[in-house]
Amino acid sequence: MDFTTAWLTTNRTCNNRCQWCYALSTLNRNSSMPLDKAISLVDALYERNVKRIVLIGGEPTIYSHFIELISYIRSKGMRVSVATNGRRFSDLAFTKAVLNAGINGIDISIKGLSEEEYFINTSSYGLKEMLQGYQNLISLGFTPSVSYVFVNDDSENLDNLINFINSNSISLFSFQFVKPVLGSSSNENSFDLKDMGKFVGEIYKRMSKTSIKYCIEISFPLCLIDQTILEKLSEENRIINCCHVPRGSGINFDENFKIIPCNHFADYPFSDRPVDPFTPSSIEEIMKSDIVTRFRHLARSYPSLKCQSCNLWDQCGGGCFTRWLSLDPNDYIL
């Protein structure tokens, strides 16, 4: 199997507790990758011709070996990016060190538009730090992308978000929609997929009145979006929907070096047996197991029979696979 991108969960520790976090149930592990093992894993991935590594968590920037690991990945000629809440970048010296280490991409996720909202969503007051972090990166000549996850049908908050983007001069922005937290019944589907489709229309309508550069990550079937809106968004290159899972082009490791199907399966590794980073063949052994074969078969299947004859399939792919572990696609796909 050829993997081109690898996600490394450096640590299951975080300075936030986001209500919608896919890894929330794992943060009590308080565990992280030992640096020597992380480096060996990078070596193993390099040997497999992996081109890009994404550091995820938890919150990767509080991983105690964050900068060393970035430097090592870059020394191998591989690309490295990070998904972060951005708070640690409020430390200018830290930010300079990360950029000097050669990081290629930073995506900052906004957790709230006011300190009060940030606290409600994360149990932390982190907005000021996040904004300072963004400004520090900009001041050093690095433009991070910024994203926001809609967890419910909150069209009133959309105007506030647009004002927030404008007032903070955020230049690269992506709207995202909440995905199921696997194994949790409390927040699954709080935002109905059909409403997500309609909400995309609201985003388009309101963003059309601005000059903000934005895109929308669509993680549900494209047929739930009004066709006219979809065509306009496509013409303007506003849509992102591209998942490595059906292609099998990515590989994800948790902080204990267990392989997980994707980030959203944080507590569901393919095997209880971790990869031995000093024995790269152990990756192969797990990836050849029956559970991986089964997962890949399902992830590559049509959600609904209706998808078989849909002319959007090539671009759509049926949405995020995790949705169909709790929802019936036939209730949604048109």
Partner: protein, 83 residues
């Protein structure tokens, strides 16, 4: 834990009919940003001067295969994304 994943997959509600791998859609928003510079298997190791990967996706984030079967941008291209 493997049993847990297996149980989770038992809840899958879709079909088991293998589908063609969707090529997906990629916004061109990040053109000229520092966010995603990949080599696209074309030798440049830097997308700043093209970003189009000859396929219209403009973003190699997750696949690196340029949304085509060749896995090589030197030819055998399916052209721009069709959405």
């Amino acid at each position: 834990m493997e049993a847990c994943l297996s149980s989770l997959l038992d809840g899958y509600n879709g079909t088991t009919i293998i589908a063609p791998i969707a090529i997906g859609v990629r916004a061109k928003l990040r053109r000229a940003s520092q966010f995603l510079h990949y080599d696209c298997h074309c030798g440049s190791d830097d997308c700043t001067d093209c970003y189009n990967c000859h396929c219209g996706s403009d973003d190699c984030t997750d696949c690196y295969d340029c949304h085509c079967s060749s896995d090589d941008c030197s030819g055998d291209c399916i052209g721009p994304s069709r959405l």
